[in-house]
Symmetry: D2
Subunit: 147 residues, 4 copies
């Protein structure tokens, strides 16, 4: 009964920090900037450009891809969900909102991503494969459906 989805296109603020946890599970973090253009209202008021910084978190395969290919300045498409974590500092409870990514796309001209195609996701196979587990994909090809 619920949907929690974030879609961002922006630029990476610094190289990812990657950690390896138990069982060698990788986690990566980096900031992503989205910038809204400034404009002038109909009443002549200047609204300045505004940059928003987003904390991106990636797990496992996506984190490993980020470690290899994401750099400060990279332009990315990110799809994920919002998650707020709490932590303590000096006895004060604080909250951080992060975007936990499921899909990461490299945009713009191929840099050195080494991917045939810029798409990566955290499903076991490619995103397309989310609809074709266990049985061969040829069986569920929509192209030969007789209707």
């Amino acid at each position: 009964m619920s949907v929690n989805k974030v879609i961002l296109v922006g630029n990476v603020g610094k190289d990812p920090e990657v950690k390896y946890l138990d069982r060698n599970v990788a986690v990566a973090n980096f900031p992503l900037a989205t910038t809204e253009r400034g404009y002038k209202t109909s009443t002549g008021i200047e609204v300045p450009e505004r940059t928003e910084w987003h904390n991106i978190v990636l797990w496992r395969g996506l984190a490993e891809t980020a470690e290899k290919y994401v750099k400060k300045g990279s332009q990315l498409y990110i799809e994920g969900k919002l998650q707020t974590r709490s932590w303590e500092k000096d006895g004060v409870k604080r909250y951080t909102t992060e975007i936990v990514a499921d899909v990461m796309q490299f945009l713009g001209k191929r840099a050195d991503s080494g991917q045939d195609n810029g798409t990566v996701s955290n499903s076991q196979e490619t995103p397309a494969a989310q609809n074709s587990f266990e049985a061969p994909a040829s069986d569920d090809s929509a192209d030969d459906l007789p209707f």
Copy 2:
């Protein structure tokens, strides 16, 4: 290097048609309506309400869920991708655009969906599981309102 995503909230036009293909792979089809309110332009012209019909296609587990729980009139959230198929009729090539769903959500009051939660997806586990890490989520549980 690409994204193909559709997000719909609408009402089902008729009960799903479900077929079982080779290896018992299920496919379901049904029409989903989205309706844009009519309005009046600043120049006083009436733009009527407009209903758009979308061909929804679901595979495997999602198709089986649709068979059981989706009915004419159901309100659904659908996330998927656009796909255009071609077919011939009377020697004329024709095209049909469909939304192949990855995520289907039952909205509104719980009917008899039998799901604890109305969300279903075509990944092997739940959507959350796409990032599943074996570590407990309890430490950063946001179950208590942080504001």
Copy 3:
């Protein structure tokens, strides 16, 4: 060069708080919950259900609509953007991430929203009107099911 978009479907945690600022500009705030189902990993670990709370902010017309029709428990579709504000408490800088909504949809059975259709947006006319062309839409009306 950037995109900052959030899409949520969830339930309102408490009645909106609405303030009127200078020039009678309305702002509304309320928490929205999204819940991810719990599941069991392939290695047998139980991942519990997880509720995420989102701070929704609405301005002007949307805030006034929220004041009238949004209640604790309402099921809503929200589309907006992420925005992080900073503020100080006890000399400590703190951050809050909010979703500033452009589109709010009432889901589920019609309560008493008083709208012909549950959609509301902050554009001057309806969302459809963003592309409003003064020509009639009747020629390409898709009101009859094309399949």
Copy 4:
């Protein structure tokens, strides 16, 4: 009570065709390709790469921007809605599904778009302006809200 949203990132297949209708209203059309990577299933079957072609339609200001800056090969982010039109050819009714865009973003390195920032939308001002009609934006700056 409904949502009809499409989000695409892809490459333009040919230069836009632009027409000017009554009252000088511009309409632009072009094909946009999204490509899903091929992959191998767990049972060893090769699923080939698949390209999907989308018919993009833009009105007014967006059409004029497309006329100036969109070229064959351009990488774009498109946000819009699905719309199916019917037309007749040789006495046979046929249907075409199009994406009517509200938002168009130029991705990748700046070519010669001439925009300070690649974002364009069909609202009267910039997307940000959708939340600030009539009154100055300074009044509704979230930054000085005392809550």
